[in-house]
Amino acid sequence: MKNQFLAGLKAGLSIAIGYFPIALTFGLLAKTTGLSLMEATAMSIFVYAGAAQYISLNLISFGVDPVTIVINTFIVNIRHFLMTASLNEKMHRAPKWVKAIYSFGITDESFSVLATGKEEKIPTAYAFGVTIIAYGSWVSFTAAGHVVGANLPEFLQVAMSIALYAMFIGLLVPAMKGNRKVIMLAALAAAIHCIIYIGELLSTGWAILVSTLGSAILIEVIFARRSKNVTALQKEMEES
């Protein structure tokens, strides 16, 4: 039990190191967005969702209303539904309340580590180790980033307003390489958002929501139909 927990901490260390710059930048940006140290750190403590937190900063700075921000957070995080649903197959049996505790720590990164583990079934103590060290890193470096941000010169703080978008690009481009579906998803969502923006059709929060869902659904329908056509074609060829 104790060994599994330690093994989990060890496996989670790589996540903790990876979180360091992202959480630090989040703290910095939260500062420039006007959040206090406590408000910024509290978001990392209670929400603990990198992308959603970054997006909410963005929306706060645009003056988007809180309800829309919460709905956006839900849309962005709903993908975890998929991840935990598939993870469930891999986890050791445990009482519901125990699973309810460690499920709080399931992020894209901790999911990847747990889901790709080579053991057939993952021990509960291991999951706690992975999630606790990652969470600790996220929260403490958020606070550190906020504190550091106060002492930077003006031109650097201005330049840092790009950090959020640069991070999004840094996440997106590697996934785009050699993957037409990812390119189309991102391009279509960007195009829809640009049309909404130029036409002043919706406020920012809703615009992001509509372009995201619109693109995700449309591309899925197109690809599903295409793969259906391909299998139909293959069948025909086999029969003839």
């Binding site: 509290a42 998929l82 499920s103 998803l185 640009c194 869902l213 599903a224």
Partner: protein, 102 residues
């Protein structure tokens, strides 16, 4: 930010926790229809596209060039195989130089 902020935080915490907790505790391995899981797995890439454009162009009010330089730098570093951190730091660096001399 005040009290509204804390209510928003509470809402964000709840809607983040539910998709993580429900499948592990209540669903116990029921499968989703493929079209639904397909759409769900598309969302991360679509949301990134929507987040980047057009907002990155207008990141500095009244100075479109700032956004364009930033976007081009970030794409270039990312395309050349830089990880997230080199992309972020490199882009900040280029814009800091640009801002310093403007």
């Amino acid at each position: 930010m005040g009290q509204t902020y804390w209510w928003m935080l509470f809402g964000m915490a709840v809607v983040t926790y539910i998709p993580r907790m429900v499948p592990l505790t209540f669903l116990d391995g029921k499968e989703l229809p493929p079209i639904v899981s397909g759409v769900l797995s598309n969302i991360p890439y679509a949301v990134l596209g929507a987040l980047i454009f057009p907002a990155i162009i207008f990141v500095q009010e009244g100075n479109i060039l700032f956004g364009i330089i930033g976007a081009a730098t970030a794409f270039l570093i990312a395309f050349l195989g830089g990880g997230v951190m080199p992309v972020v730091l490199g882009t900040i660096g280029v814009l800091a130089i640009y801002g310093f001399f403007m």
